[in-house]
């Protein structure tokens, strides 16, 4: 059921500014139905985008998005908001480039300012082997029409004058992979934009609705679960819902959801910590990433520096900050930009990452009929949100795996056709 949507515009902004009138709610709240055509578990950018494209591109609107917390409370609201498409494998490049295209059109498509800033993305090389990988990536990228090239330290200095490119540092900068179309985007706005647009098309968004079990029949296990069976619905803290299709979009928690149907995943969950400083005058024009120093930095429109790191080496579901992280982060950032030694950290947080062995996602159908996965998003899920939603929606609507995600199938872990993306996704964001 389509509802009339309140359209945002400069004129509305002026009107609300003058009258101080309340803005209408961005999405409605609905009663939980007893059945849906599609249930999507996880109300982050992936789940909401899948719901939106199901309704927008395929006319499937009897869809529910369930989240045990609030929309965008997981990885979608915890990432460092960096988007790029300079990956290492041809499959990865084509996939993430489509995502970048969708991000570019998003503010217009969803009628919400997502503050996309295509400011350029620098991946620094501090070793010969890193530089070699940069050249490899640049060539793969160029072949697919992506703006990406290796630049030398003097050009790095031009792009980001605050970086110390001298040879006196512990890890001198030997060059960088420069990717002008990369940038940052406001991640909350992306979540809200998809939620609002999906709601407008008739999708039900259910927050604080935790999935306790997934109901199956015909599987090889005694309770009807496991390979060969099919999904019949889900049990939530608000009651049972029947549905022929259930999609797992729960990132860090994806193993726990898949265990409910007896589908094993090649995933371990690790926390990734990030931090933000107090705001200061704008001085960092690009996104800067250093694989060797395990850090990536960008400056928000408010002037805060956002830092991210690599995942914590010990797998856990506990997301608390550690002193080791703060210490290491401060040391590494100062190595790159000695000028910010006086700045103070405002806060730090962590999110859960579902890491796969080949640093590529696991998407599409599984051995249980009606149970689809969009998981294994590790540290790169946010930048893939739109294209994941688009391709998962196509896969659900047509019953055939969308072309862009065929190589991300779950069978690759038994056939050995891995999509090794570590060289471009391990730390670099």
């Amino acid at each position: 059921m389509k509802q009339s949507r309140y359209k945002y515009s400069a004129l509305k902004l002026l009107k609300h500014g003058l009258t101080h009138g309340d803005w209408p709610r961005m999405w409605s709240s609905n009663e939980l139905n007893s059945s849906y055509d599609v249930i999507i578990i996880g109300g982050g950018v992936h789940g909401l985008a899948t719901a939106y494209y199901l309704a927008q591109n395929h006319g499937i609107t009897n869809v529910a998005v369930l989240d045990k917390g609030y929309l965008g409370g997981g990885g979608s609201g915890r990432n460092t908001a960096i988007v790029r498409s300079n990956y290492l494998t041809p499959e990865g490049v084509a996939f993430y480039d489509r995502s970048l295209t969708l991000y570019n059109e998003m503010a217009h498509d969803l009628n919400l300012n997502v503050m996309f800033s295509r400011r350029g993305h620098l991946t620094l090389a501090h070793t010969d082997s890193a530089l070699r990988t940069m050249h490899w990536r640049a060539e793969v990228n160029k072949l697919q029409g992506i703006d990406s090239s290796v630049i030398d330290p003097s050009e790095v200095k031009k792009e980001a004058p605050s970086l110390d490119v001298s040879s006196n540092t512990r890890y001198p900068i030997l060059g960088a992979l420069f990717h002008p179309p990369g940038g940052i985007i406001r991640h909350d706005a992306v979540v809200w934009g998809y939620a609002r647009a999906a709601d407008h098309l008739g999708v039900h968004l259910h927050q604080q609705t935790e999935v306790l079990d997934i109901l199956c029949e015909g599987g090889e296990q005694s309770n009807g679960k496991g390979p060969g069976g099919k999904v019949t619905g889900v049990r939530t803290n608000k009651g049972d819902i029947s549905a022929p299709i259930v999609v797992n979009c729960t990132a860090g928690w994806s193993s726990l959801i898949s265990n409910m149907v007896g589908v094993d995943l090649p995933i371990t969950t690790h926390p990734l910590q990030a931090a933000v400083t107090e705001p200061c005058k704008t001085f960092l024009p690009t996104v800067v990433v250093s694989g060797s120093l395990h850090v990536y930095v960008s400056q928000t429109d408010r002037g805060e520096l956002v830092f991210g790191a690599s995942v914590d080496p010990v797998g856990t579901y506990r997301i608390n900050g550690t002193l080791e992280f703060t210490e290491e982060l401060a040391g590494h950032v100062l190595e790159l930009m000695p000028g910010i030694a006086e700045m103070r950290l405002l806060r730090q947080w962590a999110g859960l990452c579902d890491m796969t062995p080949d640093y590529s996602p696991v998407m599409g159908f599984t051995s249980v009929e009606g149970f689809l996965v969009d998981v294994g998003w590790g540290t790169y899920g946010f930048k893939a949100g739109p294209v994941s939603g688009e391709t998962m929606a196509e896969t659900i609507a047509t019953g055939k795996t969308a072309e862009l995600i065929q190589s991300f199938n779950i069978e690759r872990f038994s056939t050995g056709d891995l999509v090794g993306e570590k060289g471009a996704a391990a730390v670099g964001h």
């Binding site: 726990l256 265990n259 995943l265 080496p313 856990t316």
Partner: protein, 79 residues
């Protein structure tokens, strides 16, 4: 910080050791199928509760040992 009890070196910071992940039964290499072998290599339960896991005392005695850790709280019990 997670404090991990190495049987030889005593309590150590987890950053001194390497977490090798949950204990998975190794199939017999002589007669395992490719699928069984790859399942052993890649598939994990990844539970958010008590998990039996292997650690490697990287900077100390270089021994491998198993402990039980609750991956929801990082509590550790017995060896």
């Amino acid at each position: 910080m997670i404090v991990v009890p190495c049987p030889n070196c005593g309590p150590r910071s987890s950053s001194d050791l390497r977490n090798c992940g949950e204990v998975v039964d190794r199939p017999n290499p002589k007669n395992a199928t490719i699928e069984e072998w790859r399942s052993y290599l890649y598939l994990r339960e990844n539970l958010a509760s008590w998990v039996k896991e292997t650690w490697y005392c990287r900077t100390g005695c270089r021994k491998y040992f198993t402990i039980e850790r609750n991956t929801a709280t990082n509590e550790i019990r017995g060896q």
